[in-house]
Amino acid sequence: MGSIQLQDVRKSFGNIDVIPGASLKIEDGEFVVFVGPSGCGKSTLLRLIAGLEDVTGGHILIDGVDVVDTPPAKRGLSMVFQSYALYPHMSVRGNIAFGLKMARMPKAEIDRKVNEAAGVLNLTSYLERKPRELSGGQRQRVAIGRAIVREPKAFLFDEPLSNLDAALRVNMRLEIARLQKELGTTAVYVTHDQVEAMTMADRIVVLHAGRIEQFGSPLELYERPANLFVAGFIGSPRMNFVEGPDAERLGARTIGVRPEHITVSRSGDGWKGMVSVAEHLGSDTFLYVEVPGIGTLTVRTPGELGLREGDTAVLTPDPARIHRFDANGQAIAS
């Protein structure tokens, strides 16, 4: 009831090619997450699907029907805007109810739905406020509420949780996932949060400068990144890349090891270096270790470790977890 297909979709603003050509098929009921660096074209792609921008070329099919000439209101999608775009003259209730009102839903049902959504979003006591009397996170939740009360063919979420605190974010994440599964609605979700991307997505699209670098399940991306860009982008802290003899030994131009796949010891075999920075997160510690001839490597160690800045550390990568890339940055299948 809501498959979305992009066929060589292109978009330029003036002479800036923002999306040089993207093809993609999102299955009905699937939860797809778009990730990519800031400015890579995620919002643009979402807006193209929504119909808020014209494609410069290519086709967009919803349920197999070409919609490039269908106005947004008729595409049957709902969207959370990165900029919220709340209706300033309406109360929170009015904002959330607007889409339902447009669909001529009976008053009582609207009320029920709005109250339900407000409950989920922790907005119940703010229902009568105007957007300007809300905090940033509350505004964002109203924007989410507006999208989820409806039963569209697909949800489009543009960084919907960026202004929420961790606890709420976890809750909202679970709520959105639950809702999406329950309704079986397709969802396209833009986020910068690795945890969100990894936990919510059925499949992740990695975008880079308007190009799709990889499209696959979260674990696929984590475990088998298609190229250097994806490898570096997925995972936090990012993968360490090592070039030179160490890489050549393994038949690659570059090898990559994730910080969590390196064991640290005070002595032994491996890359020797000096701890330059130690970031303590409580649960983990991130060590930035200067290894002569290689550069700074990041290591993640669980809990608090005795190592301090200035100490010497020996790093041993887990050999089974080393990624290899060729001269073009493409992964070499192991």
Binding site: G51, L52, E53, D54, D69, T70, P71
Partner: protein
């Protein structure tokens, strides 16, 4: 948002107004062009001889023409400057927290309520009259010689009256525009260390650029055809000092009843207005976009 559908739709939405205005423009325009090449004297309606460009020739070579062109431009220019500058300042003032703000605003807008003829009469006789006017009384009470407004500074007097009438227009448009200025931008500027003065120049004024443009263009159109104020106060005199193009055409049409001449004059006025508008658009038109 600029999508094909919205463009399509845009065209449909603009269509009624374009169509109506087109008819409203073209029918009289064609008739006017036609009349302008006729010898058409309203008091002698039987005779409609084709005389080519004679009407234009007479209008353009009228010794009053150049003088009135100059007066028109001076009038329009001065009133624009006065209304835009003062209008901005007054709008800013009205935007401040003021006790009894509604009432003050109403007082400021009020001059626009008065019909041009009436305001001209009131100014001429109750305020500016050199013997029994209010200003004369003030001047005499302060020991000065009253100014003989319409003899010593006739055009300036007209400018004063017209500016008084049009200031509320500018004020109201700019005030409304000020209301939509995002408060956070001003806050950001304050955080950036901008004081009231810089905030005005760097934040408020750019925000007002478009409304100011609109004020300028709309006012220009109206000011080019100011005439009741002149007719009532000076009758275009003394000499040609207060004759403007509109008054000249008026006297062609409704004093001489020379329809042909007035049509030619009207078309000349359209050309002049267009030139003025094009110059203005060159100067300020970029503010209309974005």
């Amino acid at each position: 948002m600029a999508t094909r559908q919205t463009h399509m739709l845009g065209r449909i939405l603009i269509a009624p107004s374009v169509l109506l205005l087109f008819i409203w423009m073209i029918v009289p325009l064609v008739m006017t062009i036609y009349f302008s090449v006729l010898h058409y004297d309203l008091l002698n309606p039987g005779v409609h001889d084709f005389i080519g460009f004679e009407n234009y020739y007479y209008f353009l070579t009228d010794p009053a023409f150049l003088a009135s062109l100059k007066n028109t431009l001076v009038l329009v220019g001065s009133v624009l400057i006065i209304t835009v500058v003062l209008g901005t300042l007054v709008a800013l003032l009205m935007d401040q927290p003021v006790i009894g703000r509604n009432f003050v605003r109403l007082m400021v807008i009020a001059p626009f309520f008065v019909m041009p003829t009436v305001s001209a009469l009131v100014w001429k006789n109750l305020l500016m009259h050199p013997v029994s006017g209010f200003f004369a009384w003030i001047a005499t009470s302060l020991g000065f010689r009253p100014i003989d407004w319409f003899a010593q500074a006739p055009l300036f007097s007209i400018i004063l009256i017209v500016a008084w009438q049009w200031l509320p227009f500018a004020t109201l448009i700019l005030l409304t525009a000020l209301q939509s200025l995002d408060e956070e931008q001003k806050e950001a500027a304050e955080m950036d260390g901008a004081h009231a003065f810089s905030t005005f120049f760097y934040i408020t004024l750019p925000h007002l650029a478009r409304p100011i443009t609109v004020v300028i263009l709309i006012e220009t159109i109206f000011l080019l055809s100011v005439f009741a104020e002149i007719f009532v106060t000076t009758g275009g005199g003394p000499g040609l000092q207060t004759t403007n193009i509109a008054f000249l055409i008026y006297s062609q049409a409704l004093i001489q009843y020379d329809v042909g001449g007035a049509s030619a004059g009207g078309l000349v006025a359209v050309v002049i207005a267009n030139i003025v508008a094009i110059i203005l658009v060159r100067l300020v038109g970029k503010n209309l976009e974005t």
